[in-house]
Point group: C2
């Protein structure tokens, strides 16, 4: 980490993108969060070529985002379940949704929403200062190299 | 929105990825947040081909992520400044950094950190329920189609 595409980029952003930076990845994880688990379910929802989906799912299993779990014996069939590492992509997905809702939504409004499982409330992402505990707008955030 | 690659995917995640889903995009925005603004600064930091960088910056200007601002008259030279729309990618970048810090960090720890400009505290991203106001771990979040 990070791989060939970012030679010399020793950075967590580059490292994360090396694993999940391919665009289909987020759409596959998004669909998994919506309850999809089987190859044909991903295939029918994504307008993705079969061989590309096979390749992406294999890579995601290799990278520990999904695990393959048999759901049928004869013939053996597997489904794909998000691991804990995969589920921890949710904050990235929610941030992408919020930015997309703001800047890329169509006239019908958001098609998908993130909800709190316990109470049904809408989920929002916030940046918070670990020192003064204030929620931060983007213009109060700076990034620095160490 | 969304474009050809995601035919029929009327979704904010797909829409956002149509604009920012190319991996270099996040690395260019990351470097802009670190203070880079000129073509040659991006070029030297990214190990990216000159024509690819030109293409990506043009696309980002077209999509309103950067604006081109002249900094020199003869010859005219431009620099690239993040717009408000571009700066609102920060929550996505911080979420990517946190996931990368957890799963892709090398032995030296994070190379870059996000800080609160006013007090210097470290910035963290949280998912919060808009209804009950609780900060939420990923396994309490569900996404649903509407």
């Amino acid at each position: 980490m990070p791989g060939r595409a970012y030679g010399g980029q020793h950075c967590s952003v580059a490292g994360a993108l090396e694993v999940v930076g391919e665009r289909w990845t987020f759409l596959i994880v998004r669909d998994a969060l919506l309850g999809k688990a089987r190859f044909d379910s991903f295939l029918s929802g994504l307008a993705i070529a079969r061989n590309v989906l096979t390749d992406r799912l294999n890579t995601l299993v290799q990278n520990g985002i999904f695990e393959r779990v048999p759901y049928q014996d004869r013939p053996v069939r597997h489904e794909y379940r998000l691991t804990a590492k995969g589920r921890e992509l949710i904050p990235i997905i929610v941030s992408l949704m919020e930015w997309g809702d703001r800047y890329c939504a169509d006239e019908n409004g958001p098609q998908r929403v993130a909800l709190h499982a316990d109470c049904g409330g809408q989920v929002r992402s916030y940046l918070v200062c670990a020192s003064c505990a204030r929620p931060l707008p983007p213009d109060e955030v700076v990034t620095v190299s160490r």
